[in-house]
C-alpha cells in the first residue's frame, strides 16, 4: 500500500496497462542516490550546490531558529528570553487565535472545494476537443499566476468596495450594496471567491489527468450502452481520483498559507472585526505589529503541525477513495 501511495505525489498517474514493468524502476533510483555514483551524477549534485547552500542558509536555518524562538519571549529589540512552553500555553487561551483558526478553516474548507469543482468542470469542457485549446488553457491559467499578487488584491478591493463595480451594477438594478470587502458577513466571502478564481492551476493538472484515461474504456462503455453521466461517474471520476487527491492536498496546503490577499484587502489588519483574520495574518500581526516574535514563531510551528496533521488525514482517507488503476 505504501508503495502505491508514493506514486500519488506524481502529477500523472500511469495508465493501467503499464508500458514498463515496475520492477525496472527501483534499482535505477538506488544507483542515482548512491554516493560516488557515475560522474554525471556528481556533476548533477555540483550544479545543485547553490540551491543546497541557499536551502540551508535561508530555509532550514531560519526554520530551526524559529523553533528556538518559539520557546522564548523575543521583542525584536532585545535578545530572546527563555520562556519554556508559555507561548504554547498562551495560545490555548487566546481568543483572537481561536477566531483566526475558525476563519482559516472556513476559508480553506469552502474555497478549496469550490476551486476544485470549477477546475474539474472546466477541464472536462476543454477536454472535449475545443478549438484553440492552448489559448483557453492559458487564459484560465492566468488567474493562478496573478491572484497572489498585490495588484489583484487591490483590484478586488476596487471591485467589491463601497463604490466598486459590483455596487455600481447593483445600483443599476436599484439595489444599494454594502462595502463587501469591509462587511464582517461578506469580507471573507470575497477572499474565498478570489481563491476559487485561481482554479487554473488545478485545471491544467486535471486536463493532463483526463488525457491519461484510455479512450478504449469509453468505447467499451459506449458499446455496453453507458450514457454520458454513467461514463463520467464510472470511468472518468474513478480514473481521476489520484489527480483529485493530489489537487486536494496541494490546494489545501496552499490555502492554509494564504496571506497576501487578506493582508491587502483588509489593509493589513484582518478586519472588519477580525472577519478576515487568517491565521497567517494574525501571526504576522503578533510578530511585526506587537513585537511578539516568540509567540509568532510558536504560531508558525502550530500551523506546520496542523497542515501536517491534515495532510496525514488526507493520506489516511485516501485509501478509501483513491483508485490507482491496478
Amino acid at each position: 500500500m505504501s508503495k502505491r501511495l508514493d506514486t500519488a505525489g506524481a502529477t500523472v498517474a500511469p495508465p493501467p496497462p503499464r508500458p514498463v514493468s515496475p520492477t525496472e524502476d527501483p534499482p535505477r533510483r538506488r544507483r542515482f542516490l548512491r554516493p560516488g555514483g557515475p560522474p554525471q551524477d556528481r556533476i548533477g549534485y555540483l550544479f545543485l550546490t547553490p540551491w543546497f547552500i541557499g536551502m540551508a542558509a535561508f530555509t532550514i536555518g531560519p526554520i530551526l531558529g524559529s523553533l528556538y524562538l518559539s520557546f522564548t519571549e523575543y521583542t525584536l529589540l532585545k535578545p530572546p528570553e527563555w520562556l519554556g512552553l508559555d507561548n504554547y500555553r498562551e495560545m490555548l487561551e487566546d481568543p483572537r487565535l481561536h477566531k483566526s483558526l475558525l476563519v482559516t478553516f472556513l476559508y480553506v474548507f469552502v474555497s478549496v472545494p469550490i476551486q476544485l469543482i470549477l477546475a474539474l468542470g472546466l477541464a472536462l469542457l476543454l477536454n472535449r476537443g475545443v478549438r484553440g485549446l492552448a489559448f483557453y488553457r492559458s487564459v484560465y491559467y492566468l488567474p493562478s499566476l496573478l491572484a497572489g499578487s498585490v495588484s489583484i488584491a487591490i483590484l478586488w478591493r476596487q471591485i467589491f468596495g463601497q463604490e466598486g463595480l459590483v455596487n455600481q451594477l447593483l445600483a443599476f438594478f436599484g439595489v444599494e450594496g454594502v462595502s463587501w470587502v469591509a462587511h464582517p458577513d461578506f469580507a471573507l466571502g470575497t477572499l474565498v471567491l478570489l481563491n476559487a478564481w485561481t482554479f487554473g492551476a488545478p485545471m491544467v493538472i486535471f486536463l493532463a489527468g483526463l488525457r491519461q484515461i484510455p479512450v478504449s474504456y469509453y468505447e467499451a462503455a459506449q458499446v455496453d450502452g453507458a450514457g454520458t453521466v454513467n461514463r463520467f461517474f464510472h470511468i472518468t471520476l474513478p480514473m481521476l481520483t489520484p489527480i483529485i487527491f493530489f489537487n486536494v492536498v496541494l490546494q489545501m496546503i496552499g490555502a492554509f498559507q494564504s496571506f497576501t490577499q487578506a493582508f491587502v484587502i483588509s489593509g493589513g489588519r484582518g478586519g472588519p472585526s477580525d472577519a478576515t483574520l487568517l491565521y497567517t495574518l494574525y501571526l504576522y500581526e503578533r510578530g511585526f505589529g506587537s513585537f511578539d516574535m516568540g509567540y509568532a514563531s510558536a504560531m508558525a510551528w502550530i500551523l506546520l503541525a496542523l497542515i501536517a496533521a491534515l495532510t496525514g488525514l488526507n493520506f489516511l482517507f485516501a485509501k478509501r477513495w483513491v483508485f490507482y488503476g491496478n
Binding site: 529589540l77 472588519p272 472585526s273 477580525d274
Partner: protein, 430 residues
C-alpha cells in the same frame, strides 16, 4: 558543452553571485567616495515626500560630506516596516515617530539618548510642552517636528448647501453636536454625510479628559471608565442610525485607507471630520473646498478642556546608527533652521522652534495661516498635557478599530464593547 548546458552553467553562476551579493551589504556606512550616507524615514503622501526631498537637497548642499537617502510609506504600513528594519539591524539613522511609538521604541532601547549628541543638536529654542512629548524615563529620545492638535474640520460649503448654521465653537456641547449632525443628515444629498465616524483614540482622549479622566493614567494603566465609553458609543450609534455617519461597512472600509485624499472630508463628502490640525492643507487641496478648523464640542461644559497641544511627529535617531553625529546634524537642520522650515512650512505641525516659526510666517499660505491661527487661539484654552500611553499602547488604535466595528455592525452593545475594550487595552499594555 552544448548550448543548453552552457546556458545552465551561466544561470547557476548567476545564482551563486546573487547569493554572495546578498550576504554582503551593511546598513548605511561609507559610500565609495568616503562620504557618510544616512537613511531618513517618514510616513506621508507624495507632497510631503517632495518637500522633504527638497530639504534633503538643501542639507546635502550645506554638508558636502553627507548624503541622505529618504524612505517613506503611508502611515498604516510605516510601523510594520520599521519594526522589521529595526529587528534586522537595518533601521534608518533618522526615524520619524509619533504618538506612543517614541516611548515604545525608546523603552526597548532602539533610540539614541539625544544628550549624547547635544553639542550638535540644540533644543533650547523648542517649546517645552512639545519637547516633553519626546522625553521618557528622563531621557530625551526625540525632538518634535512641530505642534499639532485634534480639531474638527468643517466644510462650510456643505453647511451652506444644507442650510445649517456653523456652531459657536466657544460654547457648543456634545448635544449641540449631535443635533447639528442629525440636522445635516436630513438635508445633505445622498452620498454626502454629516460626519466621518468620530471614533478614534485621540477622540477618546479628548472625551475622557473633558470628564476629568484620561485614556491612560500617569502610572501606565487604563484610565477611561466604562461609563464614558458607553456614553461615547451610544452617541456614535445614534448618529449612525440617523444617517449622519456612513454605513458601518463604508466606515470600516475607510479605516483601511488613511491618506487624507481618501477620507470623506478630502473627497468633499463629509461636512465634519475630527482630524489633526496639520491635515488641513492636504484636506483642502484634495476637496477643493474652503475647509475650516474649529474646536471640538464639550470643551466648556466638562470638568476641564480635553484638547491639548501635541508634538505632531518626533524625529529620533537609531541607537545603532553608525553616524550619530551626522544624524544629529540632519535633525538639527530639520527642526532648527529657517532653510528647512521654509520648505516644510506647517506640514509637520506648526514649527516648535520659535525662530523658525517667526521666519516662515510671511510665507504661509492661506491654509497654513488657518492652522497657525487655530493653534494660537487654542494655546490659552487647551487642557493639561496629554499622558502618553505606556509600552504596548501603540497597538491600541487597532484594538479600537476592531471593537468599534463590532459596535457599528451591531455585534456588541456599547456596554459589552466598553468592557471588551478596557480588557483588551489592559492586556496590551499589561
Amino acid at each position: 558543452m552544448s548550448k543548453r548546458t552552457r546556458g545552465l552553467a551561466a544561470l547557476c553562476l548567476a545564482g551563486v553571485m546573487l547569493a554572495a551579493s546578498a550576504c554582503g551589504g551593511s546598513s548605511g556606512g561609507e559610500s565609495e567616495s568616503g562620504a557618510v550616507e544616512l537613511r531618513f524615514s517618514w510616513w506621508g503622501n507624495n507632497d510631503r515626500a517632495e518637500a522633504t526631498q527638497k530639504v534633503i537637497d538643501a542639507f546635502e548642499a550645506k554638508n558636502p560630506g553627507i548624503t541622505v537617502k529618504g524612505t517613506y510609506t503611508d502611515f498604516n504600513s510605516y510601523f510594520d516596516r520599521l519594526a522589521t528594519e529595526v529587528a534586522g539591524g537595518r533601521a534608518p539613522d533618522v526615524i520619524t515617530l509619533g504618538g506612543a511609538y517614541p516611548r515604545e521604541y525608546g523603552d526597548r532601547g532602539a533610540l539614541l539618548d539625544l544628550s549624547t549628541v547635544g553639542g550638535v543638536l540644540k533644543t533650547d529654542k523648542i517649546g517645552a510642552a512639545a519637547l516633553g512629548n519626546g522625553k521618557f524615563s528622563n531621557v530625551q529620545y526625540g525632538v518634535p517636528t512641530g505642534v499639532n492638535a485634534i480639531a474638527l474640520v468643517v466644510n462650510p460649503d456643505l453647511f451652506d448647501k444644507a442650510g445649517v448654521e456653523l456652531p459657536d465653537e466657544d460654547t457648543w456641547s456634545w448635544e449641540d453636536f449631535s443635533r447639528i449632525a442629525k440636522d445635516l443628515a436630513g438635508k445633505l444629498p445622498d452620498g454626502s454625510f454629516a460626519l466621518t465616524d468620530p471614533t478614534r483614540t485621540d477622540m477618546l482622549d479628548i472625551y475622557s479628559r473633558q470628564r476629568g479622566e484620561s485614556l491612560y493614567t500617569a502610572d501606565g494603566r487604563v484610565g477611561i471608565t466604562d461609563k464614558t465609553l458607553v456614553d461615547w458609543w451610544t452617541m456614535t450609534l445614534d448618529l449612525l442610525k440617523a444617517g449622519a455617519t456612513p454605513p458601518a461597512s463604508q466606515t470600516s472600509e475607510l479605516t483601511t485607507q488613511p491618506a487624507p485624499e481618501q477620507t470623506l472630508m478630502g473627497r468633499g463628502l463629509a461636512a465634519m471630520q475630527f482630524d489633526w490640525s496639520n491635515q488641513i492643507t492636504a484636506l483642502r487641496k484634495a476637496s477643493g473646498a474652503p475647509l475650516r478648523l474649529i474646536r471640538v464640542p464639550g470643551e466648556s461644559q466638562g470638568t476641564r478642556p480635553g484638547m491639548w497641544l501635541q508634538a505632531s511627529q518626533i524625529y529620533t535617531i537609531n541607537a545603532r546608527s553608525e553616524h550619530p553625529q551626522e544624524a544629529a546634524k540632519l535633525v538639527d537642520f530639520l527642526v532648527n533652521t529657517a532653510d528647512a522650515g521654509k520648505i516644510v512650512l506647517t506640514d509637520r505641525g506648526i514649527p516648535a522652534n520659535s525662530d523658525v516659526r517667526a521666519a516662515i510666517e510671511p510665507q504661509l499660505s492661506e491654509e497654513q495661516q488657518i492652522e497657525t491661527a487655530f493653534i494660537d487661539t487654542l494655546t490659552p484654552k487647551a487642557g493639561p498635557p496629554l499622558v502618553i500611553g505606556p509600552t504596548g499602547s501603540a497597538d491600541v488604535w487597532k484594538i479600537l478599530d476592531r471593537v468599534n466595528a463590532d459596535v457599528l455592525f451591531g455585534r456588541q452593545q456599547p456596554a459589552a464593547a466598553a468592557a471588551d475594550f478596557i480588557k483588551q487595552v489592559g492586556t496590551a499594555i499589561g
